[in-house]
Assembly symmetry: C2
Homo-oligomer: 164 residues x 2
C-alpha cells in the first residue's frame, strides 16, 4: 500500500468516526430527555376498560383539591367504558394519540398536549387509537363522594367504526 493511500484511508476513517460519535452523543442526550413523564402504574382490572389500560395514581382528593388526579396509559386498542362524571373531568394528553367521543357525536382525535374539559353528566369514552398508545392525566372532580358512573363497554363495532 502506498503512503498516499494509507493517509487517505486513515483520514476517511477519522472523519466518518467523528461524524458517528457526534450523532451518538446527540442521540444519548435526546434519549435521556425523552423518558416517560410518569411510570405506567398498574394494569386496570376493574372491568370498566377494554384492552390493556394502566393507572398511576398521582393525587387523592383532600381538603383543598376537590379532585383526584392520575395518569392513565392505554395500549393501542384499549379504551374506557362509556361513562359520566357527575362534576366533570379534565384530561391532559401527555403521550401518543387516541379518541374522545361524546354520545351521539363523531369521535375526536386527541393527542399529546391536548386539554379536554369534559362537562358534568355527559356520556362519553376515551382511549387509544387502534394504531397508537395514548397516555393522559385525568383530573376528576368529585360531587360529594362520587366522581364517575360507569356504563356499558364501547363495543368492537363502535370502536372499529371510529378507527376506520
Amino acid at each position: 500500500m502506498r503512503l498516499k493511500t494509507l493517509v487517505a484511508l486513515l483520514s476517511l476513517t477519522v472523519i466518518l468516526l467523528t461524524a458517528c460519535k457526534s450523532n451518538k452523543q446527540q442521540d444519548a442526550m435526546i434519549t435521556a430527555n425523552n423518558t416517560a413523564l410518569f411510570p405506567k402504574g398498574n394494569k386496570l382490572t376493574n372491568g370498566y376498560f377494554t384492552g390493556d389500560a394502566f393507572l398511576k395514581p398521582l393525587l387523592a382528593k383532600d381538603v383543598n383539591n376537590g379532585f383526584a388526579m392520575g395518569s392513565v396509559t392505554f395500549e393501542p386498542g384499549a379504551r374506557t367504558n362509556w361513562h359520566i362524571h357527575p362534576k366533570g373531568q379534565v384530561l391532559v394528553v401527555t403521550e401518543g394519540q387516541g379518541w374522545y367521543q361524546e354520545k351521539g357525536k363523531p369521535a375526536r382525535v386527541i393527542k399529546k398536549g391536548d386539554v379536554i374539559n369534559i362537562p358534568e353528566n355527559l356520556e362519553h369514552w376515551h382511549g387509544a387509537s387502534s394504531e397508537s398508545m395514548m397516555s393522559h392525566i385525568a383530573i376528576t372532580n368529585y360531587k360529594g363522594e362520587e366522581n364517575v358512573v360507569w356504563l356499558k363497554p364501547v363495543t368492537g363495532d363502535e370502536y372499529t367504526a371510529v378507527n376506520k
Copy 2:
C-alpha cells in the same frame, strides 16, 4: 492504488456510512417523539418573577373546575417571588429540574414527573435551577375569586445559597 486497497477503502466507507445513517434515523425518530408537551407561551412581565419565565394558559376556572391550570416554563435561574395560595396549588413538573422551597425549610429538588401538593397559606417559591430549565403544570385552586397572594422576590443571595 492496488485493487485490494481500493476494495478495502470502499468497504470501510460503506460500513461507516451505514452506521451513521442508522444513528441518524434513530435520532430523527426520537426527536419526533420528544416535542415539548405544551408551547412555551408568553413571557411573564407581571413583576412577580425573576429571570425569564413563560406562561401557557391551559384552563380557566369554571362551573366544575375550582382551579385555573397553566404551564409555566422557567429558563435557568428564573423563579417566582415568594407567595402563598389561599386554597393551595398542585404542581406537575413536565420537563427539566428546579427548586421548591417553603419558608424556613431547605429547598427541595423537583424534576420531571414530580407532583407537589402545596398547602394553603404557606409561603413558598418555585423555579428552575441555575443550571437547568424547568416546566411545570400549575393547578391553582380558588378561594372565592383569589388564588395567589404575591410577596417579595427571592433575592440573588437566597437563590445562590440554594444552588450551592
